[in-house]
């Protein structure tokens, strides 16, 4: 037992005391923080306001446009946008950019341009020369008849490439023109507000107890959990592969085998590296908890955060259990490969099949996420190789009956026992075979060998 502990300690330290571990542990949370915070930071930097001259023969559009671009309206739009984000998280990138753009406050300085009695051409050329002289940045010419089907709103800007500003300006103009058209049709402002309000699209899942639950943040959370387990399993599986091949390549195995039983050595390696993986995952979970509570204070994202299903301590325990289940499944496979090959490069080629299995599990988790109660979800979350990714996602989507979890753990434990047995048979012989890669018949012979 003391030898086993020495092996575990050695393998654990070998992983954890490496720079790559430290960097990896820090990098993922930093990336996550980066994705969450940096874009907001960048867009919150105020640009120079756009000075814009407006030619408005109707006299009605400009006030509406101004109002739409005013601070209060922008704030209101932001609240709407946040509400939209909650009910429809697949909002495309463009929308998101627009929303962020609307965080500009007083991004526009308006200049009215009196064009009464002047020819359209001369107005246009004067405005153009004002842009050239740098007096204004853009101008907008509103047509006299805004209801005509061929009505053209001419917008010219020296900053034509500033898509963000242009888009939010276009949106504000659209809304201004639309409401003016409605007003022209004798619909009152209040009625208008009433009519043009967004519907309150209330999408919620219903769980087994018949209680409503908000599913909007689910997809993101599931994706993060699925990805996290996938990445960790792939990384730690390869770490096992590397460690096994190193001991074989350098012939350290011979010394090790003369000191401890091969089974002890192999299990010590799996347990040691597995604990290193748990350490890293633990750090990530803590960081995620801190990050989520930090985001919760950012009022804009609060509804989104609130809609992430509450992650209970029990869930975290389940996640860690299924991480370990996955770790032992894949680590055993990678150790098996490691003891068959002769070099790290060769091992890399053979790492493809288990990585494929992991990837299938990751894709299956999308199906599970969409319908956690389907029979596909049931089998995918029980089956060995896939269960470690799909079950946590299923638990997050909707807590399955306890016996499902128990069954998954039982089925996977049997699979792990089989894999570990197989690997230990190959390991004890393969680690001492130098020179060439083992062929399949040879490996089968090793397995049968007493």
């Amino acid at each position: 037992m003391t030898k086993f502990l020495a092996i575990v300690k050695h393998e654990y330290k070998k992983v954890v005391l490496k720079w790559s571990f430290l960097i990896g542990t820090m990098l993922l949370p930093l990336l996550a923080v980066g994705f969450a915070v940096v874009p907001a930071l960048i867009f919150s930097i105020k640009g120079e306001p756009t000075r814009i001259a407006i030619v408005d023969p109707t006299g009605n559009i400009t006030p509406r446009l101004r109002e739409n671009l005013s601070t209060e309206r922008l704030a209101e739009r932001r609240r709407e946008a946040a509400r939209d984000a909650v009910t429809n998280i697949s909002t495309d990138q463009n929308e998101q950019l627009n929303r962020t753009a609307e965080q500009f406050q007083e991004a526009f300085i308006f200049t009215e341009f009196d064009s009464t009695g002047r020819a359209a051409e001369s107005v246009r050329s004067e405005l153009t020369s004002m842009i050239i002289r740098g007096e204004i940045d853009a101008f907008l010419i509103i047509p006299t008849d805004i209801e005509a089907s061929d009505a053209r709103f001419e917008f010219r800007s020296r900053r034509a490439g500033d898509i963000v500003t242009n888009d939010s300006f276009r949106n504000a103009l659209n809304r201004a023109v639309r409401s003016q058209r409605l007003a022209n049709a004798d619909i009152s402002e209040e009625r208008l507000a009433q009519l043009s309000g967004n519907v309150n699209f209330d999408a919620k899942g219903i769980d087994d107890r018949g209680e409503d639950k908000d599913t909007s943040g689910l997809m993101i959370a599931s994706l993060i959990i699925g990805l996290m387990i996938y990445v960790t399993l792939a990384i730690y599986g390869q770490a096992i592969l590397g460690a096994v091949v190193e001991e074989k390549e350098t012939r350290i195995a011979e010394i090790l085998f003369s000191s401890a039983r091969p089974f002890e050595l192999m299990m010590g390696k799996l347990v040691g590296v597995g604990m290193a993986g748990l350490t890293q995952l633990g750090i990530w979970v803590l960081t995620a908890a801190v990050l989520i509570s930090f985001l919760a204070f950012q009022s804009d994202l609060a509804p989104l955060v609130a809609s992430v299903p509450p992650i209970t301590p029990l869930m975290i325990v389940y996640f860690l259990i299924f991480f370990l289940v996955g770790f032992f499944t894949y680590a055993a496979i990678f150790a098996l490969i490691g003891s068959m090959v002769t070099s790290v490069q060769e091992g890399g080629q053979f790492a493809f099949p288990p990585i494929m299995l992991l990837l299938v599990g990751f894709y299956l988790s999308f199906a599970v996420m969409r319908d956690p109660n389907s029979s596909l979800s049931f089998w995918a979350s029980i089956a060995p190789f896939f269960s470690p990714i799909t079950m946590p996602v299923r638990i997050l989507a909707e807590m399955p009956p306890f016996w499902h979890i128990l069954l998954a753990v039982a089925v996977n434990s049997i699979a792990i026992a089989g894999l570990v047995w197989l690997t230990s048979r190959v390991y004890r012989v393969g680690m001492l075979m130098y020179g060439k890669r083992a062929t399949l018949p040879e490996v089968l012979k090793w397995i049968r060998q007493v």
Binding site: T2, K3, A6, I7, K9, H10, K13, K14, E246, E247, E249, T250, R251, I252, A253, E254, I255, L256, F257, S258, S259, A260, R261, L432, Y434, K445
Partner: protein
Amino acid sequence: MLDISQPAISLKISNVSKRFGEFAAVEDLSFDVKVGRIFGFLGPNGAGKTTTIRMIVGITAPDEGSITLFDQRMSSGLQNRIGYLPEERGLYRKMKVVDQLRYFAALKGVSQSVADERIDKWLGRMELSEWKKKKTSDLSKGMQQKIQFIATVLHDPDLLILDEPFSGLDPINVEFMIDVLAEFKSNEKTIIFSTHLMETAERLCHDIVLINRGRKVVSGSLREIKESYGQNLIAFRGTNADAILGDASIIERVVTHSDAQELHLAEGVDPQDVLRRMVESGVIVSRFERTEPSLNDIFIEKVRGAA
């Protein structure tokens, strides 16, 4: 009462066989190794030395026969009393010297405080103290070999098995390591020394076993073996001797070395007679010495004879 002149047997190999499929790596091999002596385990490449050693250290089990160490059947518990320096040595490339040594000691059941004390002692003895915190990849090959040796003896094993311990060492370091071995050797220790370098084996070993193709060819004390082979060998240097050297009735074979000739006398020929006839026939003798065959000669003869 134990007879002190006859040291106790620490390792007993009895009728051991090991096969890999059709191939018999070791066939019906038996020999004894005595406490307090250096035992030479000799044989050409592929003779079955490594296979036998792996069975002795408990990495693999024999198909037939038995291995008894310190009067016990070989078991994993006995592994802590063995120090094994394999031919193909390895260290963790990116690990510090001290960390590797601690790990190897821990695998042999040595507590860290004891290990640390011994690591310092041995690094000092090997003149490697300043390399303690360095990684293996920073060390020269000779230094790595010394570190490997330290890893083999940290748990103060009763049986030390060294497989080609001097390969890759320069002559100065070979001498150095021989001194270290001499210090380690005591009346309680058994050292098995496996090599195909006969000069070194000849210098160091008290007893040998020579195996070829998995079978024992010769075994016994080096002295006895040499005597049994060395009845009629003369080291000779002189001029004007062509006539006598060419006489096949007296001299069977002449092997010419750079500074002397080795005369293999025909069976039943007395060296005294040969010397007398040389002097009588006017040969100017500057060296005429009865010698023993070198272990190398015995090795070559036995291995060639078997082929």
